[in-house]
Amino acid sequence: MDISFDLLINAIVAGLLLGGFYAAVTAGVSISFGMLDIVNIAHPAFIILGCYIAYFFNINYGVDPIIVSIVALPAFYALGAAVYQVYYQSFEKRGQESLRGLAFFFGLLFVTEVSLILVFGVDYRYVEAAYIGPSIHIGLIDMPLRMLVPCLVALAMFGALEIFVTRTFIGRAIMAVSQDQLALQLMAADPIRIKRIAFGISIATASMAGALLIIIQPVEPSVGREYIGRVFAICVLGGLGSMPGTLIAAFLLGVVESLTATFYGPSWAPAVAFGFLLLTLAFRPAGLMGR
């Protein structure tokens, strides 16, 4: 197969744009799984919920999906805090998080998906906005705004999260709870409250990620499943709990997936994430920037 230069360059640029979006999708799991040790496999289902909320307000009232997602942030935060409260009371407190906690999140994933199917059906849905369609051309490179806008919004969100986690008191407390819960308690901070806030934030990111997802591609309720492999692959590859590592891993996966899709066909792309995940687990379980 002869690989033309501009095809290669365009595939890499598309991969970087995709990677930025993946960073937004993974940010939530990076907090819940990486920092709080909560294996929230239902995260992609919350993202799809975000997609449909953006879709609903976009189609019925013509609101921009990104604005919808920002307005919906508090609702998602409250949802996350409520889910954590149930999770804590039922599983974490009793030390049963490994088996039953996982089953709980799996059930949530399933219930969310089936409810969306019952309400919206299994047709692909998409949103309308001014930036869906046109592209920017710089020399050989084509950048569709449909990819560029989500990538930039995702990076802005990721940056804000990184600043929040490293600079503010609550953010540092979240980092602390991931390292030593008892020590945090001795500093007179309530670890459960900190974890509840952190989990709320992690679910809130799903609102943004959902709006970005439905801008990038049409969505139906089971699309979320493809992202389970991706988000955990990125999270593990980046190193659990490391935000910069997550960002690097997201770009890496985006580029490799884009190259695979360009040169082997898009139907192979989902397999890439799994390959990444297994290779990382087998050879470097700590990830790129793991502690």
């Binding site: 799996f106 399933f110 089936v114 955990f232």
Partner: protein, 317 residues
């Protein structure tokens, strides 16, 4: 009761079920019964790893589909009788289970769970891209009307029903035997405290690999006759999320610590679903399964069996 007498009793119960079905003479009973028996095998298989060892497998659908697709492959390549296909399906899914376990089981349990979930997506991708077994269009398998065995003509669906009945008996007897053996005690130590078990000299990795291989093999067995049952197999039905969620929900609702749990869960939930699919709709019935799973893990952590045991314990002074 030792394993031999249990197997004899289980076989007798199986024969009684068969005699009842024969007396009823309804084709629908065979169709519905096949599905329930298939879920008994799946949930028992899941419980060998999930209930006994405490390792959650979200990829039951993938193991099931591996069994089903190995049958489709053999059907095109070199047609064999279904019981042989069951063995092939078991070997294929067992190998997949072993490989998965080998790569992920040395790490924390959550990684195994995530890897199984991702594996289901990837295997589905592979099958969709594999034209030989039908790709995304799916594959037709024409089921013969009947079968000649030793001069007798047997209705084909009855034949599949009997096959699945045998598999269910074998799966239940195996899981009960494991529960009472040294292997089962080893599994229980892993579930309760893996670190402590390792320190006491329990070969945890080897035991976990045995569990994943066995569990995968039984799921493959359950899947192997499926193409003949359904007649038309497409990736979306073979990898359907309902297999993954049912094979977790049934043991969880029945109770994970003993072989009875998956059996009770599969019979209850399986027949309820058959009923709901016919009377309401298949989407609503899946929603009910999901809600019941969430409710049970929160309210009754040890399932129905746990509730009954608690009631009995309270009655004794």
């Amino acid at each position: 009761m030792n394993t031999l007498s249990f197997s004899v009793i289980a076989t007798a119960v199986g024969l009684a079920v068969l005699a009842f079905a024969h007396w009823l003479g309804l084709d629908y009973f065979y169709f519905a019964g096949y599905t329930i028996l298939q879920f008994i095998v799946l949930s028992t298989a899941w419980n060998i790893l999930g209930g006994y060892c405490g390792y959650v497998n979200f990829g039951s659908a993938a193991f099931f589909a591996m069994g089903a697709y190995s049958s489709v492959f053999m059907h095109k390549f070199y047609p064999l009788p279904v019981p042989v296909l069951v063995v092939i399906g078991a070997v294929v899914s067992g190998i997949v289970g072993f490989g998965m376990g080998y790569l992920t089981l040395r790490l924390r349990g959550a990684f195994f769970a995530i890897a199984t979930l991702a594996m289901a997506v990837v295997l589905q991708t592979l099958v969709i891209n594999w034209e030989y077994v039908g790709g995304s269009r799916g594959a037709y398998i024409i089921r013969p009307e009947s079968l000649e065995v030793a001069g007798l003509t047997i209705n084909y669906i009855e034949y599949l029903f009997v096959l699945m009945l045998i598999l269910a008996v074998v799966a239940l007897a195996t899981s009960r035997a494991i529960e009472r053996s040294q292997l089962g005690f080893g599994f229980a130590t892993i579930r309760d405290d893996e670190l402590a078990a390792e320190t006491c000299g329990v070969p945890t990795l080897r035991l976990k690999l045995i569990a994943t291989t066995l569990s995968g093999a039984f799921m493959g067995m359950a899947g192997a006759p499926f193409p003949y049952y359904i007649g038309y197999l497409q990736p979306q039905s073979a990898f359907g999320l309902e297999y993954a969620v049912n094979s977790i929900a049934m043991p969880m609702i029945g109770g994970t610590t003993s072989w009875v749990g998956p059996l009770v869960g599969a019979i209850l939930l399986g027949s309820a679903q058959q009923y709901a699919t016919v009377t309401i709709s298949s989407a609503v019935n899946l929603l009910i399964v999901g809600l019941m799973l969430v409710a049970f893990v929160i309210i009754a952590p040890n399932g129905l069996i746990g509730l009954v045991q608690e009631r009995l314990r309270r009655r004794q002074p």
